[in-house]
């Protein structure tokens, strides 16, 4: 460690009193049916499954398990609704979507609390990031409804029909917004399947959509597991599949839709490189590292999960990172002091722990901050792996948890080579105060989103999506309209 580095003891200075967000204003029903054709209808087979709070294992509600018949019902409702929805005045279409945006804003607190209860993410994140971004996304795309001809001049854009949308559990409401908003603005109708472990905010969104007066059948929300998703993918009346999730499932969907005329957009996994040069603002970069990998427990496809630090500042950066990690509070997602919430499911915790064990077995040196972990629930302390190389599995594969691998580099050419040496290509980060170096790096990195001197920023107006095996198609911004349109 360099002498200039001061080992700051943030934590010793004060103790945090618990500051939990109240849940008494939140309404969660004991049981949820499927939202089809503007109504909540029980599943044909009468099967329900339990959805829980991953921070304490408590059952929050029972949720319907949609099977083939239910998928069929939802798709036919969407198919009938498409006839009129695709024909109504575009400005009116936009007004419906604006209304949804406003309703989310009005109920923002309720959505944030439920998101944290069902998904395990810290209330600060669901309150300040997930829910506002979801509302903004509807607001942004609402405005496009009657302006599509300006986005695609001379191309006569037209909607596709019924779009099947399958979303993951890491940003349940936000991903629903990313999917539904552009689909509606372009005149399509929707059958959306939320993730198995996090259906509640999507079902609350269904209630909200029902109240918004959106014509029945335009948005249908059906809960279930992977088999429900597979039925949706294979349904012959679905014109397009939009999927966010793992690369393995993405490949399966691409294969399953081969030989059909279904359009496809995939937002898949990642193993983002976060690169710290010696001329970076080191303290800001350390904050950036924390945000890149520990945001949302590392359940982020674009997480900066591979850290590359220039050799000359490596000791300093790693020490400062350890110091900063010692201040991170892992615990109750509803507590406003919490930095890192609960791991989304037991299954995901097992996956993460399997990788941590693998990292040790591969000979990497591990560091975990000594944070207090609650006894019940799914928890993982923030974790670093050092002394790793490109050939380590923990460096190559997406862990989807708060686990960071750290490698050092000497030259720009070397770090570019290492950063791009992955089948993924979703995100990358660069930290330097040198302008030319920033643009050199952002041009050379094979990734759909590059953050320079920042990380994990999202916006409705900003296109998001990957290169290579991280998928194709963009969500957000003008480019996010294209996957939902056909052209002359």
């Amino acid at each position: 460690m360099k002498d200039t580095t001061e080992n700051v003891k943030f934590k010793a200075a004060w103790k945090y009193a618990p500051a939990p967000e109240a849940t008494d204003h939140v309404q969660i029903s004991s049981s949820y049916d499927l939202f089809i054709n503007g109504q909540f209808v029980p599943p044909k087979n009468k099967v329900y499954f339990e959805t829980t709070d991953p921070s304490n294992g408590k059952i929050l509600a029972k949720v319907a398990m949609a099977d083939k018949d239910d998928v069929d019902l939802a798709v036919s409702a969407a198919k009938i609704a498409f006839k009129s929805w695709s024909k109504i005045k575009p400005q009116e279409r936009g007004k419906y979507i604006f209304r949804i945006a406003r309703l989310i804003q009005e109920r923002a607190r309720e959505f944030a609390v439920i998101e944290s209860m069902n998904g395990g993410k810290p209330i600060r994140e669901s309150r300040d990031i997930d829910v506002p971004l979801a509302a903004n996304h509807f607001f942004y795309y609402a405005g496009w409804s009657d302006k599509l001809a300006y986005a695609f001049p001379n191309r006569n854009p037209a909607p596709l029909g019924v779009v099947g949308q399958i979303i993951p559990w890491n940003f349940p409401l936000l991903m629903a917004a990313w999917k539904i908003a552009p689909a509606l603005a372009t005149g399509n109708t929707v059958v959306l399947k939320p993730a198995e472990t996090t259906p509640l905010t999507a079902l609350k969104l269904a209630e909200l959509i029902q109240e918004s007066g959106l014509p029945k059948g335009v948005v249908n929300i059906i809960t279930g597991d992977g088999s429900t998703g597979a039925e949706l993918v294979q349904h012959p009346d679905v014109a397009k599949i939009a999927f966010t999730g793992s690369t393995a499932v993405g490949k399966f969907i691409k294969k399953a839709t081969a030989g059909t005329n279904k359009k496809l957009s995939l937002e898949l996994g990642g193993k983002g490189a976060n690169i710290i040069f010696e001329d970076a603002a080191i303290d800001q970069a350390v904050e950036g590292i924390v945000n890149a990998i520990f945001f949302n427990q590392g359940h982020v496809c674009c997480a900066g999960s591979r850290l590359f630090v220039q050799e000359s500042v490596a000791d300093q950066v790693i020490q400062k990172l350890k110091d900063r990690m010692s201040t991170l509070i892992v615990g109750n997602p509803l507590d406003k002091n919490t930095d890192i919430g609960a791991i989304n499911s037991k299954k995901q915790l097992d996956t993460i722990n399997r990788y941590i064990a693998l990292g040790k077995k591969e000979g990497a040196s591990i560091y975990q901050s000594e944070c207090h972990l609650p006894e019940k629930g799914n928890w993982c302390p923030p974790t670093l792996f050092m002394e790793v190389s490109q050939s380590h599995k923990i460096v190559q594969e997406e862990i989807f948890g708060p686990v960071l691998t750290i490698q050092t580099f000497r030259t720009i050419a070397e770090v570019i080579e290492k950063a791009n040496n992955t089948p993924y290509g979703l995100s990358a980060g660069v930290w330097t105060q040198n302008g030319a170096k920033i643009f050199h790096m952002t041009q050379k990195l094979n990734a759909g989103v590059v953050w320079a001197n920042t990380f994990n920023k999202f916006d409705a107006a900003s296109p998001f999506g990957g290169y290579k095996e991280s998928g194709f198609g963009r969500e957000g911004g003008l480019h996010g309209l294209k996957p939902y349109l056909k052209f002359d």
Binding site: G259, L266, G448, V449, N453, K457, A460, F472, G477
Partner: protein, 286 residues
Amino acid sequence: MDRLDVLKTYKLFIGGAFPRTESGRYEAIRDKRGNLIANICLSSRKDFRNAVVVARKAQEGWNKASQLLKGQVLYRIAEMLEARKEQFVEELVRQGLSRIAAVQELELSVDRLVYYAGWSDKYQQIFSTVNPVNSSHFNFSVLEPMGLVAIIAPENDSLLGLVSVLAPAIVGGNTVVLLASESRPLCSISFAEVLNTSDVPAGVVNILTGKTAEILPQMASHMDVNAIVYCGNKEAEMKKINELASENIKRVVFYKKQNWEHPSDESPYFIEKLQEVKTTWHPVKI
């Protein structure tokens, strides 16, 4: 005294050189009367893999070349093609076109190259955006080439079709391994000679002749190919491509049209189809 014509041996075009197929196999191309026109190379999967290696090596350098330079290289291809007009017309006639149709196809091909040469430093301005985000960041999205593109060229319009799918791919900074029309492959190799005298860096365009059924699975499944363009309308082939392309989430583009003569068969959207969108964020607050 009568003079004996010197006939051309049609070979492949890989890495700026004209090798024969490593497999040593050939296919006789005959005119309607059954006379031998030429023995063309029947490329193997290994030829394709060799071509991918050189196309990958060439990609970074070609991408780095300025868009102005790329435009000038495309314009140079047009110049060279125009200069060999008679040769191509004769070849197209030998492959069964009327002289009028052959002249028209050649002229349209030249014009199409000029058209895409002109787009080189302009399409980016059409498709890129500055995104007004709700935070203190400068945020913009630009197009970048997908990288290495495998192309199965149109079966009809053996010259114009080839030019129509090749030009937008390379003007956008991609490098290409192209499989020529199976039944009318002659022009493709003569076109390679044009490319070879047009300042196109070695490896940027590689042209194979042979059987689609044999090479297609290799093109669709190769892990170092970023995108595949298929010109044709055989459902079974398209299904096969999508299945195999799923292994590395290869981008798949289908052009089902049978001819490439219409004005709408050229547009910047053909360039855009082989581009990725990259979004960059940077703080603006100090």
